[in-house]
Symmetry: C2
Subunit: 203 residues, 2 copies
DNA sequence: GTCGGTGACCGACCGTCGGTCGGTGAAGGG
DNA sequence: CCCTTCACCGACCGACGGTCGGTCACCGAC
């Protein structure tokens, strides 16, 4: 299995090339404004090659989307697991997520274009696919500690994810992303402190 | 001015008809999957009529978008202004917005499709157009009171909107919407109490 | 009233784009 | 050495967004 046949390796290389090129163009121009012919031409391939490896333009986008999302999920999780205290883990994860929002690829692919493309194909969106499990990992310790009576993980994760998405949109559209990120972090910090205060009974 | 000429009235009726038909189809099928020919055919008009009144498919979508957004903004505001206490107003507004998130038109037009369409034309998105003023009315008293040091209205509104959308998503997908709504409101309540605790210095 | 201008609306036409499909040549098992 | 397999090719198609010259009812001027 480790020794792959020549054809197999070339095919995989072609797939990765297509994903890489498509990612560049999707980030630069957006999904709708990027023509398949342009992707294929820049990759030095014919249109048939793309349709041999991917079901269509949407499927190619989904492949790109998953790569970008995986990168972000990994960054968030690795930041969270580095902390011992559950609250510190949450804050570290949020900070990593806000960093991701500053990157053009995440903004364009995940925040702006993915929602419509996924909805058009009845696919799972960014919310449910990977981000939610990611958030559950961070939030479950909090809920399990019993600090938030009556609160269950699933709705909490959804609300948190939505809030993150809202701040992501704010950052994505701001003229000064750095300043927007700082503003958003203040807000999230207040919310976090507030929830913590309710949990511990201390302001 | 109140007495409009016949041509003027007919033109306005045509515009409204186009917006109404387009809204139905956009909600049913989404923006990308709806063909201009289909809109025009169902309206009993020719394609030229549409392009006479609107700059293009995107401009027609924006007109539909603004109508849907206005409806929601009005519902939220009327719910909020009925309350005297700022915190009660916030809660009432949030509840009304949650209801809006459950309606297919708002979900499809504003949440799913608007972001990509607006981004493609460098237009103002849903958050900045009307939703933000709507939420600003509700949230500005809080921020202006100085209870939340360092917090500005815009990012706070975005985070709140996102959180509400997340909970709406959770409710929409749940097998038991009533129970899900109760769960979500517990979470929102915790967050609200938390922010309030930070603001007042009391848990 | 009638006459010329205006503008709402028509619909054939165009360029582009996503998607299809029969073909081709090299890889690789027998 | 041959025959199957398959990654890849590229001409072609149909659909869609957008254009543009034409048409005719409406409306103010005289």
């Amino acid at each position: 299995m480790t020794v792959k046949r020549l054809r197999e390796r070339q095919a995989e290389a072609t797939r990765e090339l297509l994903v890489t090129i498509a990612r560049e163009l999707f980030v630069e121009q957006g999904f709708a404004a990027t023509a398949i012919d342009e992707i294929v031409q820049r990759a030095g391939l014919a249109k048939g090659a793309l349709y041999h490896h991917f079901g269509g333009k949407d499927a190619l986008f989904k492949a790109v989307f998953e790569v970008v999302l995986d990168e972000t999920a990994e960054a968030v999780l690795s930041a969270a697991v580095a902390e011992d205290d559950p609250w510190d883990a949450v804050r570290a994860g949020l900070s990593a997520f806000l960093d991701a929002c500053l990157q053009p690829a995440f903004r364009r692919i995940v925040i702006i274009d993915s929602v419509a493309v996924m909805a058009a194909n009845s696919w799972e969106g960014g919310m449910e696919g990977i981000e939610l499990p990611m958030l559950r990992v961070v939030l479950t310790p909090l809920v399990a500690s019993g600090a938030l009576p009556g609160v269950t993980v699933d709705p909490l994760a959804h609300v948190a994810l939505g809030g993150l998405y809202g701040s992501a949109l704010y950052i994505a559209k701001a003229a000064d992303p750095q300043a927007a990120r700082a503003e958003a972090e203040v807000v999230i910090d207040v919310v976090l402190r507030g929830v913590r205060a309710v949990a511990t009974g201390q302001p």
